[in-house]
Symmetry: C2
Subunit: 358 residues, 2 copies
């Protein structure tokens, strides 16, 4: 199958990390080990990240950005927008700036700087602290990228490749879709885990707690994230409140329906079978796929590459990899895209509709 060609932008040798907890520390470890990068960390308490060898040195803003090729902002969600703004103000002209927040609309809306591309790795969110950091935390993990039409195509391509080199699987989508989806597949499961623990505490509570020994593997699986990092998760729920409320409304309706059918003596076997089919469909959709390579020449103006990625994403076509090589005069660029082979024809059509022939 096709393999990515080398891009024209050198790998970043100087990385700034603002927020050196579990996510930041793991990025730092991977960047040092896998990219040979020098990492400068910014944190109210950089000691743990220094002790585990995640960062080469600690510094403060704006000095930490001196000469940085890439800056990651990995603070708690509520601090993302002001921190990204401060980092962009301090960052050199060509510096790629990204973040790792699990809610994306607010931080993406906070800047129209072309150097910024929002990001969100699906890893490690339920715990925290640099001492849990691991070089391989992102191996095989989905890492969402949420560029806007204002984002530089070169920076998007650079970030995509950088994250692939860190071991992750980047996937581009818009911030709105990301936040709606995370409400369903991450924030809602956390809420339900809390509710389940509350129900169990009531059922097993007080005098009965000791009598019940274990509670079985299905309960442990279902409640693994219950009560995770209250200050971090309080911020996440708040930042994605509207999308989470919409999910809760749908869950309330679904549970009321199940309750009525159960109370009415109706069999739930068909409902259970429906869930099995949905689970199978989700598993199939997330399995590995053969890739096809598409090449187009794109004009070198802001928004083009992000527009391509988002247009494909809106029809469920994931960019498994991408590469952008500007022409000598920088007027155009050769853009190579790797998409699922089964969707290659549709991707060609969409590219043609954007005025690009593949």
């Amino acid at each position: 199958g096709p393999t990515p060609t080398d891009g024209v932008v050198a790998e970043p040798k100087s990385v700034a990390l603002v927020g050196t907890g579990l996510i930041g520390g793991s990025i730092a470890l991977a960047a040092r080990a896998r990219l040979g990068a020098t990492v400068v960390g910014v944190d109210p308490d950089p000691a743990p990240a220094l002790e585990i060898g995640a960062i080469d040195e600690a510094a403060a803003l704006p000095e930490a950005l001196d000469g940085a090729a890439v800056a990651f902002v990995a603070t708690p969600v509520a601090a993302l927008a002001p921190t990204v703004t401060a980092v962009l103000a301090a960052a050199p002209a060509g510096c790629l700036v990204t973040d790792t927040g699990s809610v994306k609309r607010a931080v993406v809306a906070a800047t129209d700087d072309e150097r910024f591309v929002g990001g969100h790795p699906l890893a490690g969110a339920e715990t925290g602290g640099a001492r849990g950091a691991r070089e391989d935390l992102f191996d095989g993990a989905t890492w969402y990228l949420t560029p806007t039409r204002r984002s530089s195509g070169l920076q998007l391509e650079r970030l995509h490749r950088l994250l692939t080199d860190l071991g992750a699987r980047p996937a581009v989508l818009d911030a709105e879709t990301h936040d709606r989806m995370m409400a369903a597949v991450s924030h809602l499961p956390h809420v339900l885990a809390n509710v389940l623990v509350g129900q169990a505490a009531r059922a097993l509570g007080g005098e009965h707690a000791g009598a019940f020994g274990q509670v079985g593997p299905s309960f442990r699986d279902a409640t693994r994230v219950a009560g995770a990092n209250p200050s971090l998760w309080g911020e996440i729920y708040a930042a994605n409140g509207d999308a989470l409320v919409a999910e809760l409304d749908a869950v309330l309706a679904a549970l009321q329906d199940v309750r009525a059918r159960l109370a009415g003596g109706e069999s739930l076997e068909g409902w259970q079978a429906g869930a099995a089919a949905q689970r199978d469909a989700l598993s199939a959709a997330t399995a590995g796929e053969a890739l096809a390579e598409l090449r187009v020449v794109v004009p070198n103006r802001p928004g083009v590459v992000a527009d391509v990625a988002l247009t494909l994403s809106r029809e469920g076509i994931n960019l498994a990899d991408m590469s952008l090589a500007p022409s000598a005069d920088m007027a155009t660029g050769a853009l190579a895209l790797w998409v699922p082979a089964a969707r290659a024809e549709r991707a060609r059509t969409l590219l043609a509709e954007l005025g690009l022939s593949a």
Copy 2:
């Protein structure tokens, strides 16, 4: 610490298993390997259990019970009551009869035979089929016992010891409490897993499914049991419908409360912290404990041993082990009980209230 003394009832060398799926097949493997038992299996299709060497031979009722010392009924939930009744009719005089159903009230109410003690191992419920059977399936797993006051104390003690020998951790409680508790810690998590998969299918569905790659470890954990074995789980939901409806009502109230607070802009950090505390309390309650041994002399009449076990269970005092040695004239028995050391004083008081001095 104290260790159980040998009881007077010899280990069963002849075991009948009615229903040789995952649970029955695993009991059979463990009984053969760990008790040196000969196992006769009853199943519409005994071939898989024979092929994996779980049963020595296949037979039909009532012949399968000839000479059986113990009979396990491990059919789907809806078939338990009639099957247990048929097995009791065919079983020899001293034969212990138990079942493995995950809902207990109906099967326990179906008989007043003193040889029957209801049971429920917390293992393997989400899959099925003898080919998944494992000798170690019950190692360390809680195995609930739901005797009634009509159950023979000798049979209860014998079953308790037998299950310990199979690797499980027996815990005695009444059928009502069991079913309420299972609604909270097992049946409800299965319902919520289905609902989560439905929400995700909607959020990721159709054209978007391919775009979203993985959905993160918290979602996979939360939905591991979604859609599990529809015919088996349809029966479980129905058999425990009233208790599950009560749990759903409590969940609906809890979710409506969370939704209102979120929509009102209230921080959920305190609520998340509360869930963390509940989760910690549940974990602490299920951790290992030092044991103390209590010895009492009990009159040899029906219900005494079950009464002791249930009285302790109602105050959350689990019997980690028990041993009953009848006197030579069978008029009384020496009952040894192992309970958490921290609860030994309370257990002594409860025994005294039953007219037994420890």
